[in-house]
Amino acid sequence: MTATILRRLAQSVPTLFIVVTLSFFLVRLAPGGPFDLERPLPAAAMENLRRVYGLDQPLLVQYGRYLAALARGDLGPSFSVRDLSVAELFARGLPVSMTLGGLALLLALGLGTALGALSALRRGSWLDHAVTTLGTFALTVPGFVVAPLLQIAFGLTLRWLPVGGWDGGSPRHLVLPVVTLALPQVAVIARLARAGLAEVFERPHWRTLRGLGLPPRILALHALRGAALPVVSYLGPAAAGLLTGSVVVETVFGLPGVGRYFVDGAINRDYTLVLGTVVLIAVFVLVLNLVADLACALIDPRLRDPG
């Protein structure tokens, strides 16, 4: 097991390297720079700034320095948010995004599995059709439509919940963003769970288990474990996406998460912030995929390494 984890981590280093390299040069190819303000700075001040941030060096030197710093875990200072390093920005934004994403993930997993199980048990019933139809809606209607509609309904019309803001993460402020984030995930997980369970019910071993006259609790254990594989392997990348923030949700609800860092960083030519965000997301993806794969191997002995 440990060997597998180490091997996988080693394998992800080249991927990370390629991502960083591509991003680094793509960012630098772009016209404009981080200090191009609406009113141009005096040439001397500009020169000074560029020297302080090392931008006066040849590109390859900068690249080497960035990689060296990255290897030490240093993401560098932000160009656009004065006096803060990229790491400090993440320290502020990540708790917000991870709270939202984590709650959405839990909601999606619980609700999605329950709905999927219900429709698999009552295949062809009105409930099954309703879940399928609503699932298609939830998957198709984009978040940037759902979020404002929720604001109109629950914020402006019913006045039950605030339309936005963070307010230190008070539960009332969390509801709408979490629901927006969770909706499509509920639909995907419900679909996967339904399909997985339906497949288990079709398998010959299900008939064997039923023929043994086992109590429902034991049958449920076997059915859910059999259907868990697609859900778990989906959860890896999905969790990475949710936990690293959503541009749409954080913009619409005005939340101080990391979801906007990338777009804002790119617009402001904040090189280190853009690269830092790319690294952050890539690390999340790689680690959570690894976790998902390990979980799959735990669930299904056939996926374990021979020997």
């Binding site: 991502v19 298609t136 940037f144 509609l149 790319v278």
Partner: protein, 370 residues
Amino acid sequence: MSAGAAFAEASLLARARRRLAGDAVARACAGVLALVALACLLGPFVTGHPYDRLYYDYPGTPPSLALYPAPQAVRPALDRLAFRMRVRAEDVSVTGDAVRLTLAADRPVDPRVLTFFSRSDTVGEARILGRSEDGRRLAVEAPLRRLRFLAGTDALGRDLLTRTLMAGRLSLALGLMATAVALGIGVGYGALAGTLGGRVDAAMMRLVDILYSLPFVFFVIMLVVFFGRSVALIFVAVGAVEWLDMARIVRAEALAIRRRDYVRAAEALGLTTAAILRRHVIPNLLGPVVAFAALMVPRVILLESFLSFLGLGVQEPATSWGVLIADGARSLESAPWMLVVPAAFLVATLLALTLLGERLRDALDPREGA
């Protein structure tokens, strides 16, 4: 040779069409799509409003069937007009489609100010009915402009329906073209890898795997932010993201088909590799490819809308559904219809395309309902 293959394909598509025609949901979706496409194509000629015309008198008008100007709105509008002409509007009377009024001032009224009338959104070109001796009073008649804003107007007073339909042209065209590009690249790449197999296949798929592991939406955003927000670039960016899936599907299918006994049998019959590809591999690939392409169109539209929503999409005055929805989300409290109208079009189109694509995928599956 090609006649036989064409027959096989035709029969496949014919069967799928028959099955879809018997499906109420599929028919409804096709109807919605036809309606949206037709509306976007012809609608902007019919609404009577240029999509970029700003009606200064009607910013933020809610949707309604009513004709504008409303009777009680004529007087204030004329007052505003008169103010700009530096005259007073007096004796205003609305008769049917025209309005009569007297322009009064302390100095003689210069008839050239009447050009303001033709630039107004409320009334048209004015005709002089009479003029007082001292020239300080000018009696004029002007036709009322009768305007209708079925879907209301935006904050700048542009007709929302026309803008939504114009935006639809762009979104649909982009969806179709980017899908075509992704399809071309993906099918070519995947079929090549799947057919050549061996080391070439492994190398080609390694490349796809690496590209896959990149956070691609971020690269698209980077491209668009750094190199300007042109339609062409968005198009390239979207196509570049979407072809990967296609390549994987086609390659997996091609490999699977090549392992089937009927391909072995065809080889044993002495068919050339090209003939096996044409007669056996491609027709059997057709189903999954068509279905995947059908489902790719809504995804592309969604991706473009997403970019536009972030403010990275097409630039004014051109517009797309994502741009309009972003505008709408910003004026949620004052003009909720600005969100609802384009969002309704987008959602209806996406839903219809998705449902139709899913049903097409099922209908093209030779294992089902044979």
